[in-house]
Amino acid sequence: MVGLNNIVRWAIVLGSILLPGFCLAQLKAHSFEEIEGLQKTARRHLVVFVYTNWCRYCDAMKTTVFKNEAVARTLNEDYYFVQLNAEEKKDILLNNHRFKYKPNGRNTGVHELATALATIDGKLTYPALVILNAKLEIVFQYSGWLNHKELGTVLRTVSE
């Protein structure tokens, strides 16, 4: 009947406007290839999270800290967020430089981009958080566990 159809139609329209506000903030992760294009539309700092599959604290940060509402919102709105597997096997092209995977054993090695971004005092440990400005210069590096409050503070401070 026409009346019922109208109600259904309004319900769909209202629902699609209201529902997104009830969903949890989904952290948007980009790839390095997208960054150049994105910077052209809006210049933002880049946050890179360097991790490996066997690093337990990296897992912990992925499942708790990066799923936190406030952190996800800040990263989505003020930054471009990229996750880098330090043992990534594929080449990555960034800033006209090709970064490659360097093996040192069967199924073990490290990607040059992880070494370039996350080496602190000569050492590369995981997890590592690196913030670069729009010109791809490193402005912040930290290695180790950060809880959502600490990460929130870092993100707010750097973007000022």
């Binding site: 066997w54 040192n104 069967r106 566990w145």
Partner: protein
Amino acid sequence: MVLIDGMPIVSSLGSVYGLSGIPNSLVERIEIVKGPASSLYGSEAVGGLINIITQKPQNASRISADLMSTTWGEYNADLGFSLNAGSKASVLTGINYFNFQNRIDRNKDDFTDVTLQHRISVFQKWNFERKESRLFSLAGRYMYEDRWGGDMRWDKRYRGGDEIYGESIYTNRAEILGNYQLPFNEKIFLSFSLINHDQDSRYGTTSYIANQKIAFGQLVWDKKWGRHDWLAGTALRYTYYDDNTPGTANAGGLNQPEKTWLPGVFLQDEITLAAKHKLLLGFRYDHNNIHGSIYTPRMAYKWSLNDNNIIRLNAGTGFRVVNLFTEDHAALTGARDVIVEGDLKPERSYNANLNFVRKMHFSSGAFIGLDVTAFYTWFTNRIVPDYETNVNQIIYGNLNGHAISKGISLNTDINFINGLKFIIGGTIMENTLTENGQTQQQMLTEKFTGTWAVSYKIRPLKLSLDYTGNVYSPMRLPLLGDLDPRSPESPWWSIQNIQFTYDGFKKVELYAGVKTC
């Protein structure tokens, strides 16, 4: 089976030395693969794999040294070096020296309680940079060990003689391992190892002198195709073994070293059936020129309920050619005669295990990991020493029946962000032999074993505390007869260690502890 950065160390005589000579400062992490991995690495990998992954060159210190001594009289030194050799190569070097010469006789039986040892081992690993980031690693390890035990009055001049009893073993071992990716677009890897192992031993007046040389090469093609991840390959192992026992003599009594050729082919496919389900099927065929064809199938099923809950089911077979004299020193020592019944056939095993892993992450940063495994292994042709039929003999034969090893293992890992950590594990198992319908617990096996590590870091004091230990339940012990006054069972037994580590200095760490023995 032990691997270094994925390079297999293929050698039965030397498996006891798998982890030695590589200082902790050069180790990034250790990966453990539980369950049979025999389809990839052959009979050595029946129980699983231990893969020692070394530090990335930029992370290893240029020089590191670890020196330790105990009031028991043990001295240990580990040196590590990391260098770049030009722009295309990097080298890691490790040297280990261990000395224990303190004769202890707590039970006052005039025989040493613990083996006296002197050991030096050198390890070096080269990594070369090549075009297209292809892998080339080469490693070498050399070890020399001098160990002895026996009458408290013994020294070198009585070696091999009949005046004062002593057992002395000199071991000389050299290994070369490598991994090379062939220069093709397809991922094809060549792994090889060359090993030479010399043992010169005396047990009183009995001498056991053995040499084992192994050359091993394996070619593996790694191909991903849609939902399939294939591994296909071929391997060849040549083993030369010679000793001065009747084990390497021909019918005429003349020395005839054992030469074994073991070519093989294998195929493995890891299929992603669905987002949460993976199935691995593997098959290996080897041909041993003495024992004939060996078939080693393997199956593994992984069900990821989600990222934090994973169930795995593994099943496979194993094959082991046993060298009695090197593995069972009871055969050479002591007053019993060694009788070997017929031709010893290789041991075969069939294994299945079910494993559940659960990870719990909390927003505080705390983590709890749970790992439960149930395992069951059925052995046929098990080679068992019979201590009971005749007290003056040890009779070795293939078991006319079967042996079973089954149990459940529970491990938990608890980490708090304040620095408190627990690693606790326990295994309940039954190791039985069934012969002619009768089942008995196997000698020298325990029913329960537990292990723990509790760590806490007092950050303001820069002091860490580690409390570690293990515990074993009673084991059946071999007695000489009804009049043997000793207990037929060992007591509950535990070794515990408490260690304090201070890392307030920039480049030096101090540690001290107490250990029960």
